[in-house]
């Protein structure tokens, strides 16, 4: 008999992988709607492009690997990867960057490691990190300004033109993200001066606050449906909040806590990316450590790094650590004594 060599949890539940993935897609809808409302049609086109490429690539690789194509396509994992990747990319990313990122995510980050369930790193974040380090200029200058402060909203045809063909007029639509802008201006201006910029609106960060709240709602829905447990999002957000209060209490010198929580991809990361069951820790204590690690790294990279946001690198760094965390946080088996820790002492 061959022993199954699979990672915990071993207890399964009713429902299928495809069912779970459909719930995740459903829960992303409010976030996608908010992004489209505030930042134009770019995200919709990116999602469509990434999904087409991802499904095509998945089918091609499954064909080469001689696996049943229909069976594996029906688990929707490639679609979820593609949508997450498209949501992470700036809305006006040139089309070829989206294609490169999606292909790398599916072919290299997922299937070269053995397909769904075998990949040590989050495929969507690998694809994102690849294009972020490879094409820094288009990746940081393709963020659209929020629609309320644009003269003309970005319609479908505008987005198609900007993504697929000419990019000369792109400057009229793009703007730094609030996180990036605050970080760069804080060296020369006070908090009150910075927040006069229309990009911050009357609230925290125009548009972004609603996007994050929408993703939070989607995440809470998934939590209610018990798609994942509370550990990772809670420790992630707690660590990020704690770090930003500890280091950033003075908003004249650091990005304030409210911006850390409600701008950028914080909520998308907390509920949809960090909770990926394949690449995250699986033990309860391990999940707390894993989430807190991501929160900590996000703060460190946002505060002292040069990239506009930090979710991808923070998640990938903790993906590295997840097997190690699992090794040392194995829970006590019911009916057995607590495992001895540390080096064996003299009796």
């Amino acid at each position: 008999m061959k022993l199954l060599n699979i990672s915990s949890p071993h207890a399964t539940r009713p429902g299928t992988t495809g069912g779970v993935m459909q719930q995740v897609l459903l829960a992303m809808l409010p976030g996608i709607a908010a992004l489209t409302y505030f930042f134009g049609m770019g995200h919709i086109i990116q999602i469509a492009l990434a999904v087409i490429v991802a499904v095509g690539a998945e089918a091609a690789v499954l064909y080469i690997r001689k696996k049943p194509i229909g069976f594996f396509l029906k688990d929707y994992s490639a679609v979820v990867t593609a949508v997450l990747l498209a949501l992470a990319l700036p809305p006006l990313t040139p089309w070829w960057i989206t294609i490169v990122a999606t292909l790398f995510a599916i072919v290299v980050a997922k299937h070269l490691y053995g397909g769904l369930g075998q990949n040590p790193f989050n495929p969507a974040m690998i694809g994102f990190a690849l294009v972020l380090i490879s094409f820094p200029v288009p990746m940081t200058t393709s963020w659209t300004a929020p629609t309320p402060i644009l003269e003309n909203a970005i319609g479908f045809s505008d987005a198609v033109t900007l993504i697929f063909s000419q990019r000369e007029t792109i400057d009229a639509y793009t703007m730094a993200t609030p996180l990036d802008l605050y970080k760069h201006k804080v060296a020369v201006a006070t908090a009150d001066e910075i927040t006069l910029d229309p990009i911050f609106g009357s609230g925290i960060a125009l548009g972004w606050e609603w996007v994050n709240i929408a993703f939070l709602i989607g995440g809470l829905y998934l939590l209610w449906r018990k798609i994942f447990t509370w550990h990772i999002p809670v420790s992630y957000l707690a660590a990020l909040t704690a770090c930003s209060i500890l280091f950033g209490w003075d908003s004249d010198r650091f990005v304030p806590t409210s911006l850390h929580i409600l701008a950028g991809a914080t909520m998308l990361g907390a509920f949809f990316i960090a909770t990926d069951p394949v690449t995250a820790s699986t033990t309860p204590l391990g999940k707390l450590i894993y989430g807190a690690g991501i929160g900590l790294f996000i703060y460190v990279i946002r505060a002292w790094g040069t990239y506009p946001d930090a979710i991808a690198f923070a998640v990938l760094l903790m993906n590295f650590a997840a097997p190690f965390i699992d090794q040392y946080t194995q829970p006590r088996t019911y009916g057995h004594a607590k495992a001895k820790r540390g080096l064996p002492g003299k009796e």
């Binding site: 290299v108 690849l130 380090i133 490879s134 094409f135 820094p136 288009p138």
Partner: protein, 237 residues
């Protein structure tokens, strides 16, 4: 005590025991400087030169050096050849020398060279050692070139750029622009791209090897038409 034929030595160096793809030696320069074809070729030729020289010298002194101090002696020999190569490069290809920088002196720490000196040249006569040095160097250079070409093509969309660093003015227009208006793909130029590219090359070599083995096994075990089936024990496939 040479037991290998020259043919076998050549095959080992180029394929079965390739220093870069099988022994995985000398990865530091391999991964660091293979951003373009010209860098790869420069480093490959320098390494090959040192490898041939050191193999010959080690083979000559192999019966004189006591085993206890053989490694320091070999390293001294290798270091002298590296110094010669370095001076030669400074004299004739100074720009390339500045581009490759620290990785030329670092050839001395390339395990492939000390490995061949200790594992082969110290036990074999002059001619096989020289051939071994040449073939191992050639195998290493070919892998460097493949990786360099791959990274240059994906990273910058060109091939053979800046070949004048090595071949003088006439090589200036050897550059092939494969893709026009290519946005630099930094990942391929940065070290992670080298690791991924190297992994792909090793995977290609392994898959070719297993294909060859499959064909050979198929030939051996194939059922010959008209043969009678006999019950045998001890082998179940």
């Amino acid at each position: 005590m040479s037991t290998k034929s020259l043919q076998q030595i050549s095959k080992d160096g180029l394929w079965t025991n390739n220093p870069a793809l099988v022994q995985l030696l000398g990865l530091c320069p391999l991964l660091a400087v293979t951003g373009t074809v010209v860098n790869a070729l420069g480093l490959g030729l320098a390494t090959m030169l040192v490898l041939i020289g050191s193999n010959i010298a080690v083979s000559i002194v192999r019966n004189v050096v006591p085993p206890a101090v053989r490694l320091p002696a070999f390293v001294m020999i290798i270091a002298s050849y590296v110094t010669c190569t370095e001076l030669l490069m400074q004299a004739y290809t100074y720009e390339l020398y500045t581009v490759l920088g620290i990785f030329i002196p670092l050839i001395v720490t390339n395990c492939a060279i000390l490995g061949r000196a200790d594992a082969f040249a110290a036990k074999n006569p002059l001619l096989p050692s020289a051939i071994d040095g040449f073939m191992m160097g050639l195998g290493f250079t070919i892998v460097l070139l493949l990786l360099g070409a791959m990274r240059e093509l994906i990273g910058q969309g060109t091939l053979f750029s800046n070949m004048d660093l090595l071949f003088g003015e006439t090589a200036k227009d050897w550059q092939l622009d494969i893709f026009v208006n290519y946005p630099d793909f930094l990942f391929a130029i940065l070290p992670p791209g080298a690791f991924v590219g190297m992994g792909l090359l090793i995977a290609i070599k392994n898959s070719i090897d297993s294909k060859i083995k499959e064909i050979e096994d198929g030939k051996k075990d194939g059922i010959v038409a008209g043969s009678k089936r006999v019950r045998v024990t001890g082998k179940i496939t």
